[in-house]
């Protein structure tokens, strides 16, 4: 390469130039290839295997749509579709309206205790969705304290699933609603006021249209989460069949993997539709934003603020009541007959479900997921966003990275059984180990982490890479010396997100844990199944406290980091 001192240009001027690749280019392309292979093995191939299983019989022969025909001719199975749709739609509306009023109070009113309300709203994120169901059992179950409120109706079934789902989806929806309500232009309100528009009319002509797309998006997110959730119906669903519990019954109960795959496909389709519509809607939301918007500051209004405050208070009390009841029940000797306090229910080792080992496994799994997941996801996002060459390949990588958001955890888990349990698969050895749990968790939560990383990377000057090329510095050096330190806050955000979700997920891991890799969230499920509801609540809360502690550590680290890097972040 050094002796290219040829001055004679022999090729014709129109001949296209084929750029010479530097060592750096080659390393970068190899890295992209590695990430691509990872994503293909973690997402594409398992999903493909699962899809093909739905067209096969038990012996593995292709039988076309026969499985689907069987599915749709079995009312016990396909009626679940309507159950799932009905519950999801009702719960979506409940949670959307509640979250909208709550979010409106937090962003557009002058109520006191806003910080408190905001923190309380995040509580459901700390536990597996199972906890909502468990708590409802204590409140409204056969021996529930407030059973009378149901006026003879049973909590086990649609009512319980609707309430439990609304509870755990609330923070997810609220976050989107708050974002949508925060991006408004105060000048619109000033204009409305100067035109003497009534407050009600302003609400319908300015406020609602302004956050329309956010609300639609929140609705789709809520729908997808509820539609694909397994935890709530499992605990509180009774004999009421939902798609997600059907998969579980087919796979775990009847070992009918093919039918499990069919139900998975049925579950996947609405999730993908909702996901696609949501992405289209979100794109419109961006176009609505103007860079010169003036932030809105609410003025106090006694009447409105009082009403909203009371509303928030009730919602907060319900949320705290759910967790509080679970905690109380976990500390009680024998509900409801002997209410003396005890730590007996924390003696997990004497119950079915994996004992304290399951808890420690969960922490290990959470840490591995956070550690390896953050590395893979951030590096992958870097290559997608800042890589050179393979333009179409990078776009494809980005699209693959978006897919997991549309894939329900159970579907992913089932796909992993099909794919990794095959002895012919070179990665068969990870089946039944901690590694497959970590892989499933990383994959299941890939999209949000990837998008967080991409957003952070987009904010960096695109010329950093050009400058380091001109200074003959390899990309990985600039990546480690500049990109990673500058993106550290986002990297920590991704890792805490992965940790908390890995700690609380049930659906992604329920099919692939082994007896020596059982997890805390699985223990909650199994103890509840075995009738040990109080220990299940206790374990669910152990998860919550662990997540809380992790959040605390995250806050301290972020604060320290902020202090240390203030010198160069200062503007």
């Amino acid at each position: 390469m050094t002796d290219t001192v040829s001055t004679t240009i022999t090729t014709s001027p129109a001949a296209p130039i084929r750029p010479t690749l530097s060592r750096d280019d080659i390393i970068m392309r190899l890295s992209m290839g590695a990430i691509a292979i990872f994503l293909i093995f973690a997402i594409i191939l398992p999903l493909y295997t699962m899809l093909s299983k739905s067209f096969e019989n038990k012996a593995g022969d292709f039988i076309g749509l026969q499985n689907f025909a069987e599915y749709f001719s079995t009312p016990a199975l396909f009626l679940s579709i309507f159950n799932s749709l009905e519950i999801s739609i009702i719960a979506t509306f409940i949670v959307l309206i509640t979250a909208f009023i709550y979010g409106y109070a937090l962003t557009r009113s002058c109520i006191p205790l806003k910080r408190f309300f905001r923190l309380v709203s995040l509580v459901p994120l700390l536990t597996p969705s199972l906890l909502g169901g468990i708590s409802l059992v204590y409140w409204f179950g056969n021996q529930g304290v407030a059973k009378g409120l149901l006026m003879g109706e049973k909590i086990y079934g649609p009512i319980g699933i609707t309430i439990g789902s609304s509870y755990w989806v609330f923070p997810h929806v609220l976050m989107i609603v708050i974002t949508a309500l925060s991006i408004t232009d105060a000048r619109l309100y000033e204009a409305a006021e100067s035109l003497r528009t009534s407050k009600l009319k302003t609400f319908f002509t300015v406020t609602l249209p302004g956050c329309k797309y956010g609300l639609i998006s929140a609705g789709f997110v809520a729908f997808t989460l509820i539609f694909t959730d397994f935890g709530v119906p499992k605990v509180i669903g009774g004999n009421y069949n939902m798609l997600a519990t059907d998969i579980y019954k087919q796979v775990i109960g009847q070992q009918n993997f093919q039918m499990g795959a069919v139900v998975s496909v049925v579950l996947l389709i609405p999730a993908i539709i909702a996901f696609t519509v949501d992405r289209i809607v979100q794109r419109k939301q961006v176009a609505l934003l103007s860079a010169r918007a003036v932030p809105y500051t609410p003025k106090s209004d006694m009447m409105r603020d009082t009403v909203l405050f009371l509303f928030c208070l009730i919602v907060a009390i319900i949320i705290l009541g759910m967790v509080g009841m679970a905690q109380y029940a976990a500390l009680v000797k024998f509900w409801p007959y002997n209410l003396t306090l005890t730590l007996d229910n924390y003696n997990f080792d004497v119950m079915d479900g994996g004992g304290w080992d399951a808890y420690y496994n969960s922490i290990r799994m959470g840490l591995y997921t956070a550690f390896f997941g953050t590395i893979v996801i951030f590096f992958g996002a870097y290559l997608v966003e800042k890589g050179r060459g393979f333009g179409a390949g990078r776009t494809a990588l980005h699209m693959i990275a978006i897919i997991p958001l549309a894939v329900p955890g159970m579907v992913l888990g089932l796909a992993y059984i099909f794919f990794f349990n095959n002895p012919a698969n070179p990665f068969n050895f990870i089946y039944g180990t901690m590694a497959i749990l970590v892989l499933a968790s990383v994959t299941h939560f890939y999209t949000v982490s990837h998008l967080t990383a991409v957003t952070a990377l987009k904010q960096m000057d695109p010329e950093f890479e050009s400058v380091s090329q001109s200074l003959k510095t390899p990309f990985y050096k600039t990546f480690s010396r500049v990109t990673v330190p500058v993106c550290m806050p986002a990297i920590f955000d991704v890792s805490i997100y992965l940790f908390m979700n890995a700690m609380t997920t049930v659906s992604a891991v329920v099919f692939i844990y082994a007896s020596d890799t059982t997890l805390a969230s699985i223990a909650v499920l199994n103890m509840d199944d075995a009738g040990d509801i109080a220990p299940a609540a206790a374990m669910a809360l152990m998860i919550a406290y662990t997540c809380l502690a992790a959040r605390g550590i995250h806050a301290v680290i972020t604060w320290q980091l902020h202090k240390k890097t203030q010198a160069w972040r200062a503007r």
Binding site: T7, I17, S466, Q469, K472, R481, V482
Partner: protein
Amino acid sequence: MSQQETFLKIQNLFKKFGDFTALQDVSLEVYEGEFVCFLGPSGCGKTTLLRAIAGLDIQTSGHIEQDGRDISALPPSERDFGIVFQSYALFPNLTILKNVSYGLENVKMPKAAIDARVTELLELVGLNDQGIKYPAQLSGGQQQRVALARAMAMSPGLLLLDEPLSALDARVRVHLRHEIKDLQRTLGVTTIMVTHDQEEALTMADRIVVMNDGVIEQIGTPEEIYSNPASAFVADFIGTMNFIPGKVSGTGSVLVGGASLNCKTDGFKEGDSVVVAIRPEDVNAQDMNEGDENIIELDVKYLEFLGSFYRADLGGDVLSGHELYADFSVNLVRRKNIEIGSKLPVRFPAQFIQLYSES
């Protein structure tokens, strides 16, 4: 400037993005030690050309030779240049010292040599006491100078500047112009600067390359470009130019409205429709003698006070509705008592009139 040694030779460069042609058959030579500006409106291909020279976005076809070496297909890391971007692209988490030494640390230079080089560079840009600060703690102009020091750290044969002054406010910009130019002269480094600011190009460049729509419109010294624009585009883009439609009425004369003007008509024949161009400062309102050619009496339609001079809006029946600008000194306006509505004989010196074909 007698060193006419070719340092950079660009031949028949094409750059296509899908169907869009960003560079079309661009050929150009840059001499050793020269300061060249690529000037043009946004989207004209000047930055594309710069990035092709740097190897950051390699051309679709065509060849580039630097210092006798064919670099057409080489990645940036195997070329020999330093670059400064409009955003400076200083690494925010590294101190000024670390920013400047960033490239040096990678070539296995002894620590002491690096330190000496960094000190020398910071001294060169007058920031030797700022080394331990972070970029965010410096002003825009200082950051610009750090970027310059970093680009020069590895003593490149070619310095590329991509709109280096655009992000700064006007006062700092004028100051830095001189500084960059001085630095370039001291170091003698061949420099290419991309800018859309004609004033910047006129004051800094040894030669200017005016670009539009992916092609080179004209290459020349600032004086040549200003006084002999090769096309209507160049005439319009650089400085202010009056354009009035006219018709060639014979060899050496052109008809504008009802008035006949004498001027060079090279390349045109009688009856050709042309655009007649003259700069406002070349329209003369004094030192006229009886019998001088190209004198027309026009009405002063409007007078705009611009501080050091007046810009007059001249028109009249003789121009059949067309208007043109003329710049008059404050002194002249006062002396001749020029005001809105007054009639004024003005002269259009033949050597300052340019003709362009109607497009």
